[in-house]
Symmetry: D2
Subunit: 297 residues, 4 copies
Amino acid sequence: MHSLGFIGLGIMGSRMAMNLQNAGFPLRVYNRTREHAQPVVEAGATFVDSPAELASQVDILFTMLSEPRVVEQFALGEDGFLKHLKKGSLWVDCTTCNPSFSQHMATAATSYGVRFMDAPVAGSKVPAENGQLLFLVGGDAQDVANCEPYFKVMGRGFNHLGGHGAGAGMKMVVNLLLGNAMLVFAEALNLGEALGFSRQKLLDTLLPTPVVPAFVTGKRHKLEQENYDPEFPLQWMQKDLQLASVTAYEHDTPLPATNTAKEIFQLAKQNGFAQQDFSAIFQFLNETRSNQAGVKD
Amino acid sequence: MHSLGFIGLGIMGSRMAMNLQNAGFPLRVYNRTREHAQPVVEAGATFVDSPAELASQVDILFTMLSEPRVVEQFALGEDGFLKHLKKGSLWVDCTTCNPSFSQHMATAATSYGVRFMDAPVAGSKVPAENGQLLFLVGGDAQDVANCEPYFKVMGRGFNHLGGHGAGAGMKMVVNLLLGNAMLVFAEALNLGEALGFSRQKLLDTLLPTPVVPAFVTGKRHKLEQENYDPEFPLQWMQKDLQLASVTAYEHDTPLPATNTAKEIFQLAKQNGFAQQDFSAIFQFLNETRSNQAGVKD
Amino acid sequence: MHSLGFIGLGIMGSRMAMNLQNAGFPLRVYNRTREHAQPVVEAGATFVDSPAELASQVDILFTMLSEPRVVEQFALGEDGFLKHLKKGSLWVDCTTCNPSFSQHMATAATSYGVRFMDAPVAGSKVPAENGQLLFLVGGDAQDVANCEPYFKVMGRGFNHLGGHGAGAGMKMVVNLLLGNAMLVFAEALNLGEALGFSRQKLLDTLLPTPVVPAFVTGKRHKLEQENYDPEFPLQWMQKDLQLASVTAYEHDTPLPATNTAKEIFQLAKQNGFAQQDFSAIFQFLNETRSNQAGVKD
Amino acid sequence: MHSLGFIGLGIMGSRMAMNLQNAGFPLRVYNRTREHAQPVVEAGATFVDSPAELASQVDILFTMLSEPRVVEQFALGEDGFLKHLKKGSLWVDCTTCNPSFSQHMATAATSYGVRFMDAPVAGSKVPAENGQLLFLVGGDAQDVANCEPYFKVMGRGFNHLGGHGAGAGMKMVVNLLLGNAMLVFAEALNLGEALGFSRQKLLDTLLPTPVVPAFVTGKRHKLEQENYDPEFPLQWMQKDLQLASVTAYEHDTPLPATNTAKEIFQLAKQNGFAQQDFSAIFQFLNETRSNQAGVKD
């Protein structure tokens, strides 16, 4: 049985680690803010005082962090974990990163004799809690096979999409769709309200149609109650759109809609919506609509 | 039994009129390009030589034209049909127009003693042919009731959304979703290909997910075969996004994604894709990606 | 000597009317908010109680209103002034309107036997006060000649650009440049500050270069003091970008930068900047940058 | 007297190196495409067969390359020049890079005992030829002082803006202004033509006004003759806008106009304009306007 480690216990990581722990796998965990580790520690996991120390004790290390620069800092920064991982151990990065970054991490891992897999997840808070995530995996088949028991505990399955970076690449494509679609629906809902339709009428009319992606139905209660407790915080959606933009540049690919969405999420992020669910992009547009005031002659 | 008229026999109108004719309703038709009327005339409809003459002979007039300025020209231009319609007759405009334009037409109709209903449709070429359109209706309940038999022949039903302009308003919201979603999917597919995934792999992976609206599946064969025979021509999608933009201005509503989409469809329209299906927005982005050439030092 | 009328005494109109009055031309004025007429009345002008009454008393009517729909309401709405103007009198509309609207007004005027000229101005509050505006004129040469004495009193000159709508068209092109350039400079200044340069250093470095248009230097004190007393209110800039967008659609012309600017000004307008000078677009972007807050893991 | 090296002899570098050579400084040069070095070699410079070899022979190394990834490859890639530069020698990177990249290079240089300065230039082909560039410099005062004789030969002066990255930062701000302004002017010119004004009339009217930056006058003949021989190739402008976008993300700064411009330049780049002057963005928009074709009913 592998000895497992988990670094990064935010909204997603805390739930994923808990599912590993509850399945009976021996688990060591680390998080910068220690109190976020409390529930999984109470469930039996061992808190280790530093990423370096944790790395030296595990066969497979899962990381679920906020963004590439944080991953790089944990892995390669001062006393980073990469040089402490055992030769032949496996680092599975579940963070949503851009594919060229994942490939860069794969190269760095290899130089330390460590195996690497990018395995970001489709699904946010609730699927993480219920073990219903889908892992989008880039890496070697044997490593994927070794992780299958853990993917099955944390998720409903996995999709092995290719070599290093392939999981990150598909995740980026998925989140590009997600972020843009939410903004587009926010504009539609907002215009509909401006035309005099009630929010409920619009949701009743539009959600069942084939022009709205199914995930929006899962946001209905947030839009109705104007309560945007985060499943997927808006600031991370903004980051993912940025990563897509950078990746597009690396491949000379135009992304005009995505770049506009990135900027609007940026404005929303900096107008108080950073830590709310990304569906609050509707609230940002809607509030500004209502705020309007005009001069008179 | 009402005497029916139908003006505008393009991709949509020709199929809608045929369904009326085949259901046995006595039908008079007019189209600027007469040969487009040939099939419905062969099926038994009467071609009338001018909109004015046709108007004087019918109880209910359906129009299915390309855009508001064409509707205005037919209705109120030189020898426009409005002044030739009988008092108490009903004009049902199925053209996709902006709501303030529909309200303007309602006012004009009233001034001639004519009743008005805006009834644009959800659905494009194939549902038009199969009688599976959905009418989005703005107008008086009695008029809607009178049209029910005709809506049922041309479509699978109708949604009475409110007074004059309400049908046009909801249609605009729907098409805003449609146009933006197609551009967003085009960007996702294009970025995925740039990352090395095959088009088929991407379609297989993405289409079943809740982040892609179901209508995109209906475009799969076009994207695979790069054959964009129009169900809904790209130029009319561009027009609809423009109408949404104008409507948003009238109501002080921000539509940043929609305005970007409008401009990208404009560029595609003017680079040879005007008359292709609006899903060809993918082709526009994809071709430009492949065209790339860089200088060397 | 012509009897002159002036309708619309806002930031611009009040100063223009005052210059006419001070030059000794007999002037009748009207404004919805009567107190704005007080200064020019004290200077000798006659306040008339309605646009219709004023129209019946003058040979040349100047209008300086907020936007096309307001012009249309004054001219053609209930008791609109057009039908009260004398046959052969001249209406000079100085409002910034889209060219197709100006052509529409020219047609309406002609139908009442009234002559029309579009004469929007380049220059905002200070040039209006100092009689240093530049009139951009569309209309007949004889009418332009008749107005020359008045243009010279209100401005430093005029540019006769063609028939009806040509003045409006050139004004739209100028304001498109102005609005976009202000947003672009706001982004540059904001990015420069984010990189650690002081605002003063950036202004010192950038303003003298050939990459920044000269008008920005006139905004320097506003940017330094973060005091955006309006010379040209942001909401009217947003309107002008919208009119440019509509005009571009009428002529199938892509305006991607302008449409983005339009939407960002819309967001700024509805976040409290509507009545501030349009250079406050910097403040909108700058404040949101400073507002940022991120979640921690 | 320092021994000087110059790597990168493209449009800019070839002219800068020639001015150094003509001023009598002993110069070693390298370029991937050797024939581009021919003129400066004929003027007396020594061609060295590899960057590594060149680096080992010089006190000050100037680089003028296309973009950060190329700089990184030359400096730190296989047999990169950094490890061959003498301790205490100075590397002056004139390439337009993003500031965080320049800081990264400074750190790398320091680790090899090499001094670093970022010194991108304001000015394109003609000022490069005439020795009229302006160096925007980030680095230590002593290094700047040492380079003064060389800056004076290649340019009209320098602006020492701060520590490492400050030159790159200001250059990015300048190019952001330049790229956006060119697109904005292209839109204005295009809309003006669509309204019926001749190109010459528009240029005559607009160029002298304070709403157009002075550099556009230098593009007049290109716009008139539709001949876009590159002074500053469009593809590098697109790159610079991308670098600004990345930098803005690093500093959480919104750049909505710049991101739109980046995408439109990307589309132009991939539609055949990559190697033309960046003012060809007008041609891209203008051609698409003229290409337009619409379906008829």
